[in-house]
Structure formats: structure tokens, C-alpha cells
Assembly symmetry: C2
Homo-oligomer: 185 residues x 2
């Protein structure tokens, strides 16, 4: 039994931001153990609609999820500058709305890059969408794969956060202990 | 005297979005007449701070301006995909927060490109920052130029909206009348 298992379970809302499809997934668990699915879904907005109405619809739906599922933390995909600029803009806009919704409630917001998320759930930072969906389904013991891919990505983000952050904290604490022991802190 | 002058004065909040500096400017007036300055300022956030806290600070300041100045419309700079991708991301994030603040209150949100704004206030869509600042100062009869440039840009956006949108509407109405007169409507 690791020290991890002594922690109370944490509930994470993962958000894969996008204007046309914004994935939302809530998981609960402790690091190092299979997480539990709480909820998964996607907010869709009409590409022909006004940007103000699209962002407002995304905000309202995220607010509804925060009210209903009361997560401890929100994990949002870190926007990646390598992508197509038009896509990046929509992702940045929807992501900003998600970040502000969480910050207004005083919830911690964590950003993870797509490769961190892929590495966390599949062991490979360059895994494809199918692999991510497959591993998310396995880890959460789902009988059906979450669709669309944005929904699976949101769950992968939440699982990544649940597992990755305590691992980073444990490594940092270990390094800190080593420094203290070595007298170089 | 034009038909424009019969309209009641409109109050526009212009927002030049940015994470490090977000310009805010409120002007009031009717199309075709020199506008009046109501307020101008800039929200600054620390580049070293957490993105969630930066976006939250921008949201809180925009909310304060909306409460205090009660604009009829909010004009936001349309994010330009030609720019540096890193800058575009910050602009898109801050712009999304501005758009949602207005949309939540049911205020109309207008997006204008930098070249539309420059053309509206200087007559030249490729004018430089100094020309824009100079013309904004002249049009608003300011004894001192608004600083930083983001503050002047926010005022330019608000003036552009005040002047440009009724001109577009007037042209559209004229075209509509011409079609009706020609029996092709």
C-alpha cells in the first residue's frame, strides 16, 4: 500500500476546450488506482452562430457542470501554439471561459498539454485518438467508448490530472527531502 | 443636418484585449459628430502570475467598468490570425473574457479588425500607432494623449463602432431601398 492510497478521493473536471465541441468529463479517485467515471458529455455550439452566444453557451454549460458535480479541481487542455491558428483561437477562447469559470469559484485550475495527457493514460505522449479513447474506456471500465473524441479527451485530461500531479508533487517532495538530507536546501 | 443627428447618443465600451495590458475606453456620441470621452484606462496583469488569476483580474475589472459606465454596446478587437501565435493566444483568451462579460448582460458585442479601426479614425487602414493615438486625441479633444497605446486603441475601437456601424447600416438600408424601388427585392 502506497502513501497515495491514504489520500481522500479527489474529483476532477477535465475540459477539452473548443468552440464547436467542448468536451467535459468528471472522474473521481486517488492516484495510482483506477478512477471512477462520474459524468461525461460535450457542449456543441453552432459554427454559424455569433461568437458571443457561443461563448456564453459554453460558459452556462460549464457553470451547470460545476454546480452539479462539485469538482475539487478543473483540468483544462493547455493550448498548443503548433496547431492551425484558426483552431488555436477557438480553443484559446473556449479555454479562457473554462479557466475563468473555475477561478471565479476559487477552484484550482491545472493546464496539461495533449502529450502529457496521452503519456499519462497510454504511456505514449504521441498516442493517437483511438488509443486514448481505448485506454480511457479500459481505465474507467466503460462498456462503451465515450463519443465524440472530445468527450474521451476530457476524461483523459481529468485522469491525467488525478495521476500526474500527485506524482510530480511526490517527486518534488522527494527531491526536497534529498536536498534537506544533503544539507543543500 | 443628417438623419444621424436625430439618434440619441450611444455609449460604447471599446476593449483592446491583452493579458499583460488590456485597454478599456468608453466614448459617447452620435455618428458623424465628434464623440465625447467618458473614461479610459488599462488593466495590467503580471506576466509571471497564474493564467487563471490573470483572466480573473481582467474579468473583474471589465465587470467594474460595465457597472460604472453602463455602455449600450461593447466593441472588442477581432483577433487577427496573421499575428504571432503566442500573442494571438493571450489576445484570444482576454478577448473571450471580454465578450462573455458583455454577453452575460445581454449587451450587443461588435468585433472590429485593427484595420477597420485604423481606417475609421485616421482614414488609413494601415496607419501606425502614433497616428491612431493622435487622431483619437484630436477627435476627443484631449489635451494629453492617452497612454499606453492599448488605452488609445480601446478608444479608437469605441469610436470606430460609433461611426462605422451606423454607416454600414445606412448603406445596407440604402441598398435595400434601391432594391425595393427597382422591384428586385
Amino acid at each position: 500500500m502506497t502513501a497515495y492510497a491514504q489520500q481522500p478521493p479527489a474529483r476532477v473536471l477535465g475540459i477539452d476546450p473548443g468552440l464547436t465541441r467542448c468536451g467535459l468529463g468528471v472522474v473521481e479517485g486517488v492516484p495510482g488506482r483506477p478512477p471512477k467515471l462520474v459524468a461525461v458529455g460535450v457542449v456543441r455550439t453552432d459554427a454559424a452562430a455569433d461568437i458571443a452566444l457561443r461563448l456564453l453557451a459554453i460558459e452556462q454549460e460549464i457553470e451547470r457542470w460545476l454546480d452539479e458535480h462539485q469538482p475539487d479541481t478543473v483540468a483544462v487542455e493547455r493550448v498548443f501554439s503548433q496547431h492551425n491558428v484558426r483552431t488555436v483561437m477557438g480553443t484559446a477562447q473556449a479555454g479562457a471561459v473554462a479557466i475563468v469559470c473555475a477561478a471565479r469559484r476559487g477552484l484550482p485550475v491545472a493546464l496539461h498539454t495533449p502529450s502529457e495527457v496521452k503519456a499519462a493514460v497510454t504511456g505514449n505522449g504521441r498516442a493517437d485518438k483511438d488509443q486514448v479513447t481505448l485506454m480511457v474506456s479500459r481505465l474507467l471500465r466503460l462498456t462503451e467508448a465515450p463519443r465524440p473524441a472530445d468527450a474521451a479527451d476530457a476524461l483523459a485530461l481529468a485522469i491525467c490530472h488525478l495521476w500526474r500531479v500527485p506524482a510530480i508533487q511526490a517527486r518534488a517532495a522527494g527531491a526536497q527531502r534529498a536536498r534537506v538530507a544533503g544539507g543543500t536546501a
